[in-house]
Amino acid sequence: MPYYKASSIIKQSLPFFLFLLVLSLTTGNVLNTFVDDVLYKYIFLLVVLPGFISAIGDTGSVFVSRLTSHIFIGELDSSFRPFRILFSNIIGLLLTTLTHLLAISGIAYIVSLIFAIGVDLVVIVAIFLLSGFSSVLILMFFGIITTYLTYKYGLNPDNFTSPLMGNLGDLVGSATLILFALLLI
């Protein structure tokens, strides 16, 4: 069956998109559950949430994209050795994430001042750093599995990796952000 036929596209993509749908519904549920207690109360969280979760998802996509290149070429073997290369990718992306998170924290703080929500800058920075790093690390864990699958089955990164990392980023990002907000404020 030619790959460009509508029936072929549906057959290949439908199961995966259904799975992604479940992921985004879960994300929606999480947000809905805490919308009154957390998000409306601390409106700065709601304002930066889209930027925050897409940054997390993008980092995951970049991570998988880099890993797949390494593994196809053979700089990393299929058990992700040597770990030196794996770790330098992780550290590099964590540092990039740090700058992102600091910028987001800054914006969130400004919003909190505008709406006169009395939360310390330190607390805001802590919330974003903790939730940001923990969700990036969780995403990297799934990223390694995704990379392995992409390599083993020769999957298309545009159809598979990026949507998956994006959706996972939404879920993990929102969940951790709300969790740390609840813990720290």
């Binding site: 994209s65 797949t68 290149s69 196809f72 070429i73 053979g74 073997d77 299929s78 089955y153 020769g154």
Partner: protein
């Protein structure tokens, strides 16, 4: 020309190719190991008219072909941006050069399958009077189910098992615990006597008909064949080294040698055609000689293609380094300094051989000398192509270039 399309002399089944997750690095390592084994086997098959060996070469060639498809697939999946694309271009070029070498080797082996035997002048040219290779099938129950370590062919019979084929699967440089099953093919290397002995043990020994005496009129052609083969070997070494060290000078030497090969090849063809009456009454033998020249030319082109990667300014990808690093020897090109310890001296009077260096070739202006004898005198400004052990690099460079004035002052 591909062996498998040549008159049905071999019937290689083409394996269907579909994506498999094997990294580009691993595929390239396999391809280069296979192709260098093929060159060895092909020349031997042609020289000694060994059909079984020639058939193994054809099987290896099909394998290299198959791997090259997988490499293209995995390489295309790895590319994301322009940096990746530049890097993969070098790797793909290298892979197609390796493929080119294997095709040339297959062409030589195919001569045997077409019933073309070698001319005795080739035997003299190659001086393969010492080492040889052979392909042997495991049939004897005494060998079945035993490991190479248990059989210890090396200590008992003086031969090395350099490869084992199990059906479609090849093991190059097999480990001592490789177990042999019925129907496995082992590729062995050893002195002619020990390989003959091995053949007797396996019950496949055939007496080689005694060779004709070297005739004076063969001399020129014989020398040309020898030069062409030596140049091929040196070019491939140099091209690999040029890639590994991103060394423009080595790469340029490869291109110089490629031009030189073209010249020699033409000279060789003309000479064979001129003397064909005196060489052999059998036109197949003459055809074999001509085809041998074409194969040498094709190998030279493949090496040049590899050298071009460096000259195009493509940085060698780290995996290319990994692939080449597996060999322990190093090839360098050094210019003889005017006041160095080798200038105006005979090879035997220098310390080169004591330092473990082998002089593969010397270039003097446009002229090349291959595998110089002990009496060869080095001139200042000669370019020496040396095979050395990596740890001796600085010592040998200083020996050939001579100490710089500053260092002399210190001494």
């Amino acid at each position: 020309m591909y062996g498998k399309y040549a008159g049905g002399a071999s019937r290689v089944e083409l394996k269907k190719v579909e994506y498999k997750p094997i990294s580009v690095k691993e595929l390239l390592v396999q391809m280069s190991k296979f192709s260098s084994l093929m060159v060895d086997l092909a020349y031997t098959a042609y020289l000694y008219n060994k059909k079984s060996l020639a058939e193994e070469v054809m099987k290896l060639e099909e394998q290299v072909d198959y791997l090259s498809y997988l490499l293209l697939m995995n390489a295309s999946l790895a590319v994301r941006d322009k940096e990746d694309a530049e890097m993969i271009a070098g790797i793909l070029k290298m892979a197609s050069a390796v493929d080119g070498i294997s095709n040339a080797a297959a062409d030589i082996a195919n001569l045997v399958l077409l019933g073309i035997s070698s001319h005795d002048l080739v035997d003299y040219a190659f001086e393969l009077t010492y080492e040889t290779v052979d392909a042997l099938e495991i049939k004897n129950t005494g060998f079945i189910g035993k490991t190479l370590e248990e059989l210890s062919f090396e200590s008992k019979l003086g031969v090395n098992v350099i490869a084992v084929r199990k059906g479609k699967k090849w093991i190059i440089d097999p480990s001592p615990d490789t177990k042999l099953e019925k129907g496995d093919i082992i590729i062995v290397r050893g002195t002619i006597d020990s390989v003959d002995h091995m053949e007797r043990v396996f019950g496949v020994y055939e007496e080689v008909i005694s060779e004709e005496e070297m005739k004076p009129e063969w001399k020129k052609i014989s020398t040309l064949v020898e030069d062409l083969k030596d140049i091929n070997e040196i070019m491939i070494y140099l091209a690999y080294s040029a890639l590994m060290f991103h060394n423009h000078r080595l790469a340029k030497e490869v291109l110089e040698l490629e031009e030189y090969t073209d010249k020699l090849h033409t000279e060789y063809e003309l000479e064979v055609l001129k003397l064909h009456d005196k060489l052999s009454k059998n036109e197949k033998t003459i055809l074999g000689l001509l085809r041998l020249g074409i194969a040498a030319e094709n190998m030279a082109d493949a090496a040049a293609m590899m050298a071009e990667i460096t000259l195009r300014g493509l940085e060698p990808h780290p995996i290319i380094r990994d692939i080449i690093n597996e060999s322990e020897e190093l090839i360098i090109a050094v210019r003889v300094g005017e006041h160095s310890d080798v200038a105006n001296k005979k090879l035997i009077d220098t310390n080169l051989e004591d330092s473990g260096a082998i002089v593969l070739a010397v270039r003097r202006g446009k002229k090349w000398y291959f595998k110089p004898t002990e009496e060869f005198i080095f001139h200042p400004d000669d370019i020496l192509i040396l095979k050395i052990f990596p740890e001796m690099k600085t010592t040998i460079k200083r020996l050939v270039k001579g100490a710089s004035p500053k260092e002399k002052a210190v001494q």
